[in-house]
Structure formats: structure tokens, C-alpha cells
């Protein structure tokens, strides 16, 4: 499996070069990789259908329990085949779609996405899964913004990235909690520990965080708004990422973890309720769209809601229905998106409400649309009919909420029925206007819709093609037990069948009255403007505004205030730490000072005061020199003659330097107000007091430097010097001294440079 995945990423690397070929050719060449992978994974079908799971693992970060492991069971296999199968058609189609412009970069990201999506469904470790999960978000970002010169495309891309990205963070946090609760990040391990996880204290937070990740990715209400916006993407992307694969990642995650997290009350209530709302809302909003792609996007929201809803119910029938619906939806929605792309590409308009007679212009495309549309409407003998019957059965057999769930399911489906009718009838058969010229679309364009549309029909008539292999395998993964799966069109006259007839009748009526209904609902659009899309914009604006204000507040460019905040923090935190700890240390004896020493100390303090208080610059400089000399005298008295000598020299040079430039410096005006001097004085006192306490505390603890002893003993035998300080500087710490010299020469160069500029300007 690692090999298969590497093949896709290698393809991504090759894509920019292949993109230099005419796009059509590049599409055909690149489609060979997913095609080969389709056959590769079809080869695994037998083994997986026998109930085996294939795993592979490479150590990645063993210390954290993160392995690059893969896990292939019925559920992964079904998604894998969807990705590679539909992917093949998409690459062929995209080659034609972009025939005018070079598409190297587009193919690069499409290939990266394919690899990431495969990795996501094959991942056997939560962290591995997360990495691929994020990679799909990132490639989706670049693919939505393929037309990056358009502002709306960039905005939509960012919106999708932020919403799914935030969900991704929640998912990561949830995975880590789940890993703590289950004791492992390996999915294979977690699947056997469901009981322990569900009774663990971290179960609820882990569940909610993981659900947040799944719901954002799969566009559940109230996070659904990014999906219609994402229709800015080129149609091949919408078909592949935003209907067949990426948006189903959330559904996949729910299905994957349902043996671990599912079955509890929290799961059922949250997942089924959110799914139910999304299902109904998506279907209703879809009917009132006029743009073909947005209509499809909302009906995708409906489909995702349906899957989530069924997984939330979690009974055998419901899970079976969810799995079937993944397949149903992928087949018809993939086809319809590709059809929409061709219509847009060849007529320049995606409007569904105005009647056009496109059937004559593109008969093959129109026929595919009819096939897919019938499946979407849930009419026999299409696969969609089987899917719809199962949804009704799942809702009817739900152990809670009574008639509410079937009602919701029927409502959603009758809207879906009307939407399908709108989508297929008006653009292709509507109106009586003039007939456009007959024209056969290029094979790249009709291949995808035709294959997917025919599959909807074929699988509907012969459900045996998939039921005991794909569907049974995937259902077993979700339920963690085997159940017999036999799909059929005809189940006899039962409640689900009657509900189907009801849907058909009401759907026809709804379609007939759609336009007048739309006029009635125009007032409601004002409410729609207050929906989650607005919340998103609002929170983004607030975030940006806060960032700007905070930056203005903290990065004001006033040196004094920076320094002020710095020292306030040091003094505040330092003193707090001091007084919070056990105080009451004995004050050492003040009187052990000799008179000479005390005099020097007094001299230093007096000079320091003079240097800050003096109104004259010269006096301040002299007083500052006084401080330096005083400190040097301390060094002399306490056994540091070398230091004292250096200090005397440096202090003298400093004062000379000051005096040299003093006439160039501004006169000494008092600038700050009395209050600000008071404030600064308090901070200065605080910092000074803190330092005094610090020295005392250090002396209190006492310290034995082992390093000093070593230097002192080795100075003569190793360093051949009698002055230990000198030996340390030029021998033991010679590298430091070299650094010091470098700093000094750099400072010298800087000074020279600054003086030089002035000379040149003057001259």
C-alpha cells in the first residue's frame, strides 16, 4: 500500500513536467496511474471480502506511538476504489477541460490530493490519518483557487481552508484524547477496545472534538456554507473533491470510528440530529438555486447529511443504508457535476431555471444527465431507488424519535426529487426556443458522465455486482460484525415502498409549483443572509480587527514604553516570587564593613544619585565616571586588581568619549512630566529593590563553584601562568575572549562607519 501511495505522489512530482504537454495528452497519461491502482485494489477485493484485513506498518515516531501504518478492510477498500476509479475519469476529463491553458500546477495539486485522500482512507494510525486529512484540506485550498486571479475564488479557498482547518485541529485534539482513553493511536487496536473507550472519562470530550472535525469536513450544518462557496473551483475539482471524495472524509471518519465511539446516547443524539437537520436543509436549499453547480453543492450537503444521519442511527439497516448511499451518491453526483462542467464549458452559462434545449446540442451528455438524474430522484430501476428505500427503512426502524425521522427523510427526498427534475428537465428539454446545432462532445467529456450514469443503472438492475463484496465488506467494518447484505429493487409492498410512492407524487407536485414557491419565499432569503456564512465573515472580521488593535497597542514604536513594560514585568514578577516564597531570612550583619569600604559604597551611591539628578550634562558624565571609579575601588579591596585596572582604563576612556561628543548632543531639557517621573521612579525602585534582595538571597544559599577550583589548580600546571584570571581568559576560555574581541572590533567598525558618513556629507 505504501508502494501504491508513493506512486501517486511520484505522479504529483512528475505532473509539472507532464503539464508542458498539451493538457489533453497530460490528462490521458496521468490517468494511467489511478487506473492501474484501481486494478491493484480490485485485486484485493477477494481477500477483503473473505473478511481479512490487510495491514502494513513502518515505524515513524516510535517514541510517541506514531507509526506509518496502513489498514485495508472493507470500508477502506470501498472508498479507495471510489477514489481511484472516479479519479481516473476526472484526470481524463480535466485534460480536456483545461485544453487551452497549461495545467501543470493544477495536475500537481490534483495528484497530491489523490495521494492524500488515498492515504486518509488507508491510514491505520490516527496521526497518520490526521496528516493526510490536513493534506487534503491544503490541496483543496490550492485547487479551489486554481483561478487565483479571481478574488471570489481566493476568498472561497480561504474559507474552505479555515473551516476545515479548524475542524482538523479539533480532530487532532480529539484523536490524542482518544489515544489516551484507548491506550493506543493504532486504529486496529482501538477497534478492539471500544468498551474501554466508551466508559473512559475522556470519552465525551474526545467524541465532541472528533465530531467537530468530521462535521466541518463533511459540510454539516452549521458548517455547510463553505461547500457552496467552494464551487468557485473548476468543475473537475468540484466533482472529485467536493462531491465524491474529500467531503466524504468526515463520513468515512464517523464510519471508521463508529465501532469505537458509536452506540452511546451522546453519539446517537448528536450525530443523528445534526445529520437530520443537514439532510433536510440541504435538500430544501438545493431546490431554490439557479446556478447548476450551487444546486449540486446543496444537494451534496443533503447527501452528506443523509449519510451522517444514518450512521448516527447506527442500526444494522441504517448502516447498510449509509454505505449504499455513499456509492449511490458518488455515482450520480460525479456524473451530474461533470455534465454541469460540459454545459458551462460549451455554452458559457450554468443557469438551470431558464429553459434551454441542450438535448439536441449534446445528446450523449444529456442522456448521461438523465440517467444520473433518475438515480438522484430515486426512481426504479436505478441504484438511487435502492438507496432511497434503504434510507426509509433505516429511518422507520430507528429505535427512537418515532415518526419524526421518516418524516424528515421523506421531506428531504421529495425536495431532492424536485431538484433532480429541475436540473435535468429545464436545461436539456425545456422551452420551445430554437434548437441549437447538433454537436457531439469530445470523448474526454462524455466518457466520465456516461460511465458513471450507466453504472447507476447497471448497479440498480444487478445489485449483485456490489452487495456481497463491497457493501457487505464495508458494512461489516462499521458494525464490527457480519450481516447478510442482499440488495434488490423489489421488496414487496411495505411501508418504505408506500413512502416511495408518496415521495414521487409529492415531488411531482413540488416541481410543478417550484417557481411560485420561490416567489413566496423571497422574503425568507433575508433570513438566509443571517446564516452561518455571515457568522464566519463576522468572526473573521473580529479576529482581524483584534489583531490590528493588539498590534497597535503593543507595537507602538515608543522605546520608552517598551522598556517600561519590560522592567515593570521583571520587577512585578520577581518581587511577587520573592514575597510568595517563605520569607524571614536572617539579615546578615551590616556592621562587618570597614570604614574605607563603607566610604566607597557611599561615594558610589552619591555619584549615582548625582548623575541622574544633575541638571548639567557635564556633571552627569563626571558623576557617572565617579560611579565607575568607585566600583573599581571595590574591586581593588576585594582581591581583583586586574578587573580594577581594566575598569579604571575603560571608565576614563568612556568619560573622554562623552566629553568629546557632548557638544554635538542636544541640550539637557527636562522632557517628562512629574507624574511620569514618579511612575518611572517607582519602577526603578522596584527593580533596584528586587536586585538587592536577589543578591542577598544568593548569598544566603551559598555557592561552591567547582569550576573555580579546577581553574585555580590547573592554572600553573596546564596554563603555565601565575595570574589565574589571565589564564582563564586567554587559555581556558580563549574562544570566549576571541568572541569578545570580535564584538569590540565590530563596534569599532560601526563607530568608524558612523563618523565616516558624516565626513562625506560635510565634504
Amino acid at each position: 500500500m505504501l508502494f501504491a501511495l508513493s506512486a501517486v505522489f511520484l505522479m504529483a512530482m512528475a505532473a509539472p513536467w507532464l503539464g508542458r504537454l498539451p493538457s489533453r495528452m497530460a490528462g490521458w497519461v496521468l490517468s494511467l496511474v489511478p487506473l492501474a491502482l484501481t486494478f491493484f485494489f480490485l485485486g484485493k477485493l477477494g481477500a477483503v471480502a473473505d473478511g481479512r484485513t490487510l495491514t502494513e506498518s513502518w515505524p515513524w515516531v516510535p517514541g510517541l506511538g506514531v507509526d506509518l501504518s496502513f489498514y485495508l478492510d472493507g470500508l477502506s477498500l470501498m472508498f479507495t476504489l471510489l477514489i481511484t476509479g472516479v479519479g481516473t475519469l476526472i484526470f481524463i476529463y480535466a485534460g480536456r477541460y483545461f485544453h487551452e491553458a497549461p495545467a501543470g500546477r493544477f495536475f500537481l495539486w490534483l495528484s497530491v490530493f489523490t495521494g492524500a485522500m488515498l492515504g486518509l482512507v488507508l491510514a491505520g494510525n490516527l496521526i497518520t490519518l490526521f496528516v493526510f486529512w490536513e493534506l487534503t484540506s491544503i490541496s483543496s485550498y490550492f485547487l479551489i483557487a486554481t483561478d487565483h486571479k479571481k478574488e471570489s475564488a481566493r476568498k472561497a479557498a480561504l474559507q474552505a481552508l479555515l473551516v476545515t482547518g479548524l475542524g482538523g485541529q479539533a480532530f487532532l485534539a480529539g484523536s490524542l484524547l482518544l489515544g489516551m482513553a484507548g491506550g493506543s493511536l493504532e486504529i486496529a487496536d482501538l477497534l478492539t477496545r471500544g468498551e474501554a473507550v466508551r466508559s473512559h472519562g475522556l470519552y465525551l470530550p474526545a467524541l465532541l472534538l472528533i465530531l467537530a472535525g468530521a462535521f466541518t469536513k463533511s459540510a454539516q450544518v452549521p458548517f455547510h456554507f463553505w461547500l457552496p462557496s467552494a464551487m468557485e473551483a473548476p468543475t473537475p475539482v468540484s466533482a472529485f473533491l467536493h462531491s465524491v471524495t474529500m467531503v466524504k472524509a468526515g463520513v468515512y471518519l464517523l464510519a471508521r470510528l463508529s465501532p469505537v465511539l458509536g452506540g452511546t446516547e451522546a453519539w446517537t443524539v448528536t450525530v443523528a440530529a445534526i445529520g437530520c437537520v443537514t439532510m433536510v436543509a440541504g435538500a430544501v436549499m438545493a431546490l431554490f438555486q439557479s446556478d447548476m453547480k450551487r444546486l449540486l453543492a446543496y444537494s451534496t450537503v443533503n447527501a452528506l447529511g443523509t449519510m451522517v444521519f444514518l450512521l448516527g442511527i447506527g442500526t444494522e439497516t441504517a448502516v447498510k443504508a449509509a454505505i449504499v448511499y455513499v456509492l449511490v451518491h458518488s455515482l450520480y453526483k460525479g456524473a451530474l457535476f461533470l455534465v454541469a462542467g460540459v454545459v458551462d464549458h460549451e455554452t458559457g452559462s450554468r443557469n438551470v431555471t431558464s429553459p434551454r434545449r441542450l438535448f439536441r446540442k449534446m445528446p450523449i451528455i444529456a442522456s448521461s444527465a438523465v440517467l444520473a438524474g433518475l438515480s438522484m430522484a430515486g426512481l426504479p430501476p436505478f441504484f438511487g431507488y435502492i438507496g432511497k428505500e434503504l434510507i426509509y427503512e433505516g429511518a422507520l426502524k430507528a429505535p427512537f424519535a418515532g415518526f419524526l425521522l421518516p418524516t424528515a427523510a421523506v421531506t428531504a427526498n421529495l425536495f431532492l426529487f424536485a431538484t433532480a427534475a429541475l436540473l435535468v428537465l429545464r436545461p436539456f428539454f425545456g422551452g420551445t426556443g430554437e434548437t441549437p446545432p447538433f454537436h457531439i462532445s469530445p470523448p474526454e467529456f462524455f466518457l466520465g458522465p456516461a460511465i458513471l450514469g450507466l453504472s447507476s443503472l447497471a448497479v440498480g438492475i444487478f445489485p449483485g455486482l456490489v452487495d456481497s463484496t463491497l457493501i457487505a465488506g464495508a458494512t461489516k467494518s462499521v458494525l464490527a460484525r457480519e450481516i447478510p447484505v442482499h440488495l434488490a429493487l423489489w421488496h414487496g409492498i411495505n411501508t418504505a415502498f408506500l413512502l416511495g410512492i408518496l415521495t414521487f407524487g409529492a415531488g411531482v407536485l413540488l416541481y410543478a409549483f417550484r417557481d411560485s414557491l420561490e416567489r413566496c419565499l423571497q422574503g425568507a432569503t433575508r433570513f438566509a443572509a443571517l446564516g452561518p456564512a455571515r457568522w464566519y465573515e463576522w468572526s473573521l472580521a473580529v479576529l482581524n480587527g483584534t489583531a490590528v488593535r493588539q498590534t497597535r497597542l503593543l507595537q507602538h514604536g515608543r522605546l520608552n514604553l517598551y522598556v517600561l513594560i519590560l522592567f515593570m514585568t521583571i520587577a512585578g514578577l520577581g518581587l511577587y516570587t520573592f514575597f510568595r516564597g517563605e520569607g524571614g531570612w536572617v539579615l546578615p550583619n551590616l556592621l562587618d564593613a570597614r570604614i574605607s569600604e563603607a566610604t566607597v559604597a557611599g561615594l558610589i551611591l552619591a555619584s549615582a544619585f548625582l548623575s541622574i539628578a544633575s541638571p548639567s550634562r557635564l556633571a552627569a558624565v563626571v558623576a557617572m565616571g565617579g560611579v565607575g571609579y568607585g566600583v573599581a575601588l571595590i574591586y581593588v579591596q576585594f582581591g581583583a586588581p586586574d578587573v580594577a585596572m581594566t575598569q579604571f582604563a575603560v571608565e576614563t576612556v568612556t568619560v573622554i568619549l562623552f566629553v568629546l561628543v557632548i557638544h554635538r548632543l542636544p541640550s539637557y531639557v527636562r522632557l517628562s512630566s512629574r507624574t511620569s517621573r514618579m511612575r518611572d521612579g517607582i519602577i526603578a525602585l522596584g527593580t533596584g529593590g528586587l536586585m538587592t534582595l536577589l543578591v542577598l538571597a544568593v548569598l544566603e544559599t551559598g555557592n561552591e563553584s567547582r569550576l573555580s577550583g579546577f581553574f585555580a589548580e590547573q592554572a600553573y600546571p596546564e596554563g603555565h601562568g601565575r595570574n589565574i584570571v589571565n589564564v582563564i581568559l586567554v587559555d581556558f576560555r580563549a574562544l570566549d575572549t576571541m568572541g569578545e574581541i570580535t564584538v569590540l572590533s565590530l563596534a569599532g567598525l560601526g563607530v568608524y562607519g558612523l563618523l565616516k558618513i558624516r565626513k562625506r556629507k560635510e565634504g
Binding site: 552627569a620 558624565v621 571595590i634
Partner: protein, 115 residues
């Protein structure tokens, strides 16, 4: 003496910080010089004081005498003195150039000129 020097250190720190907070560049430089001395004194005092026993090995001996001053802080301070001198020299020239160019001797005003 420890206590006295601790107080001196604290006093120098206070004076240095106060000057760093001034709006006049000249005072800021004086503040830097005071702060440099304060820090050196902090290291010196905190390492423990020994009166009048410099860390020298007498002629003829191989091993230093007992109870001499600690050589390590002295070495550290020597480095620090030189570095802070470099810093100070550079700052003085920098500010005198700034004043010549901007004709402003107030940090608050300097910021406005910058914009």
C-alpha cells in the same frame, strides 16, 4: 559588607533603570553605563567576597594559596566590562549621528519623525 554591596547594587540598578526610561537619548546612555556597572557588581558580590587576596600563584608554588578570591567571576566581569564599553561607544556615536540628522532629542518626537 555583603549587605552594603547588595544595597549599592540595587541602587545602581534603580538609577540605571530610571535613566533608561528617560526620553532624552543622552540620559539613556548614562543609564546604560550605570546598568553595566550594576550588573558587574551583582556578579562580583553574588559570587562571594574575599578581602585582599587576589587569585595569584606565588612564585615557587604550583598550587594557589587557600582562601583566595574566586577567579572565575573576575574573568567574567573582565569580559563584560570590555563588551559594555564597545556597546556604549557605539551607542554614543549612534545617538550623536541621529541628533545631527533629525535635530530631535526626544524619543517620543523621534518616533513621529519616523512616520
Amino acid at each position: 559588607m555583603n549587605v552594603l554591596l547588595a544595597i549599592v547594587t540595587g541602587g545602581l540598578f534603580g538609577a540605571g533603570v530610571f535613566m533608561l526610561l528617560r526620553r532624552n537619548p543622552f540620559r539613556l546612555i548614562v543609564g546604560l553605563a550605570l546598568l553595566a556597572n550594576a550588573i558587574n557588581l551583582l556578579i562580583f558580590t553574588a559570587a562571594g567576597l574575599t578581602r585582599a587576596r587576589p587569585p595569584l600563584i606565588p612564585t615557587g608554588a604550583e598550587i594557589p594559596p587557600e582562601n583566595m578570591a574566586d577567579p572565575l567571576p573576575q574573568a567574567l566581569i573582565l569580559t563584560a566590562i570590555v563588551i559594555s564599553f564597545g556597546l556604549l561607544a557605539f551607542t554614543i556615536v549612534l545617538f550623536s549621528r541621529t541628533f545631527e540628522t533629525l535635530k530631535v532629542n526626544d524619543f517620543a518626537e523621534m518616533k513621529e519623525r519616523d512616520e
